[in-house]
């Protein structure tokens, strides 16, 4: 049985170039999901620095270079991310409020696993037919890969009518209606 399932002697030869182990090690992958609810916008960010860009990033997060991300350093960094974000709702600039943050250890990040999680809230107008928000993320633009999406709960009174992005998803525009 074992021989059939996992042949013991396989001649495994790689063709093309050797495949180096790579999970976006040279990019800072920033996944953002904007959840729309009645009267509220929730912005969840998951930031994963690749190991090749980590040292440079850590110099800006770990201000005292002690190898530990203190609560103060985490909060300062979260505010820096917030400062690199521009949000407009219905044409008006809106300042999201930091509501949660979670940082992995530097050791985890060095293994390529560190996922920094930040959450922000913003108020949205209720009612009215046509609405729009524009979220721009310019944080660490030189090395970042952005993924921006919107989520609406099933059965919600909010309906997304259009989504547009620029090529690298650093600019994300969503049109929606509310019942």
């Amino acid at each position: 049985m074992m021989q059939r399932v996992l042949p013991a002697a396989l001649s495994l030869l790689l063709i093309a170039q050797p495949a180096a182990f790579a999970h976006a090690i040279d990019e800072y992958v920033q996944r953002t999901v904007v959840s729309l609810d009645a009267g509220q916008m929730h912005i969840a960010m998951r930031l994963v620095p690749g190991v090749e860009v980590l040292d440079d990033l850590l110099r800006r997060i770990d201000a005292d270079a002690d190898g530990v991300l203190s609560a103060t350093e985490q909060r300062v960094y979260a505010q820096r991310v917030l400062g690199d974000i521009a949000l407009q709702i219905d044409g008006q600039p809106v300042e999201p409020v930091l509501v949660d943050l979670d940082f992995p250890s530097i050791e985890r990040m060095r293994e390529g696993l560190g996922e920094i999680r930040l959450a922000f809230n913003a108020s949205v107008r209720r009612g009215g037919k046509g609405h729009e928000f524009v979220l721009e993320n310019h944080h660490e633009a030189r090395v970042s890969a952005y993924l921006a999406n919107v989520s609406v709960a099933p059965g919600s009174a909010i309906h997304v009518t259009a989504q547009t992005r620029n090529r690298d998803q650093s600019s994300y525009r969503v049109a929606y209606t509310t019942e």
């Binding site: 049985m1 001649s11 790689l14 063709i15 050797p18 992958v29 996944r31 952005y146």
Partner: protein, 341 residues
């Protein structure tokens, strides 16, 4: 026999047997998986068994999967490396019972690909290899009551919830690196159909459909990977209601590459569910629209419906050789609809 019981009664029995066939066949599949799981558990010593078994509702263990190597994200359960040859045989027999033949073949090729990675001098061999795949069982294997089988390692995470005749494979991560290699002189592409069928669908679209399906922006990786259970995003691209019959058939075939990993009766039920809302399903493509002969698609694509999310995401500098895919039902992660959690 026919003469002894009488023709009429024989026909009646045959008819009853025919009517009962789908249910009994499904039950026999559930029984077969449960029996294989019990045989696997019986092959383990007490310490191993304790490592393999978890409570059915253990939320931490359910979510303890990843696309990353097991040295980076430790998995629960025990690995093939920790098993004796008979235990490995029992473990793989359990997996074979839970999967379809093509599904098992795909899984084996993904594991072989990881063995290729392990054979490369430039890589740390402790991170990769076909032995570094873990089994865990949540709940008690049963032909009737719900339980879960988890199997995974680098680039593979199968979460199989079994509830009687039903089987749910979501969420599951199915990736490959290298996604092209040779074995005994033959080229192996673990995710060949996921690439080629998607490309055939793209090729079938007319100019107007392509304008809708092809996104203008780059998608670097899967959006709804590990840690995103139960979440969904707004769909984009070309809606299936705008596809013709042939295109729909191509899409259904493509979806079957993920839905068909699990055993046949569960896969059939899942495809019925997906087809029921096919018109509300979307197909989106981001990246190159060409495909080199014998290679893999280097574009990201997503198939998304009311109960379905499939993402195919080639990675970084070696997109033909390193592929991530994600298969979800945001309404039914870990079979919660079956178990009414």
């Amino acid at each position: 026999m026919m003469q002894r019981i009488g023709l009429g009664r024989a026909l009646t029995l045959m008819l009853l047997a025919t009517l009962a066939l789908p249910a009994s066949a499904a039950q026999s599949t559930a029984s077969r998986i449960a029996s294989a799981a019990e045989a696997f558990l019986a092959s383990l010593d007490d310490t191993q068994r304790q490592k393999v078994l978890f409570a059915f509702d253990d939320a931490q263990q359910r979510a303890r999967w990843s696309n990353l190597p097991v040295t980076m994200v430790p998995r629960g359960g025990i690995s093939l490396k920790e098993m004796t040859p008979p235990q490995r045989s029992a473990a793989m027999a359990m997996l074979a019972a839970a999967l379809s033949k093509p599904g098992l073949d795909k899984v084996q090729k993904i594991m072989e690909g990881d063995a290729v990675l392990a054979s490369e001098a430039s890589n740390r061999t402790a991170m990769f290899g076909r032995d570094l795949y873990y089994f865990s069982i949540l709940g008690k294997p049963s032909a009737q009551d719900p339980w879960m089988l988890q199997f995974g390692g680098h680039h593979l995470a199968l979460n199989i919830t079994i509830a009687g005749e039903r089987g749910v494979l979501t969420p599951s991560f199915v990736g490959a690196q290298p996604a092209i290699f040779t074995r005994a002189g033959k080229t192996v592409r673990p995710l060949a159909s996921e690439s080629d069928k998607a490309y055939a669908l793209l090729q079938s679209l007319d100019e107007s459909q392509r304008k809708q399906a092809i996104l203008s922006y780059r998608v670097a990786d899967v959006v709804l990977g590990a840690g995103q259970d139960g979440r969904s995003i707004e769909p984009e691209g070309l809606k299936v209601s705008g596809m013709n019959e042939r295109q729909r058939a191509l899409l259904v075939e493509l979806i079957g590459e993920w839905a068909g990993i699990v055993h046949d009766s569960a896969a059939a039920a899942r495809m019925t569910e997906i087809k029921a809302t096919l018109a509300d399903t979307w197909f989106a493509w981001s990246g190159p629209t060409t495909l080199a002969q014998g290679s893999n698609v280097t574009a990201y694509y997503r198939i998304q419906g009311p109960t379905l999310v499939i993402e195919y995401a080639p990675q970084g500098g070696e997109p033909t050789l390193h592929i991530h895919t994600m298969y979800r039902d945001p309404t039914n992660d870990y079979g919660r609809k079956l178990t009414a959690e």
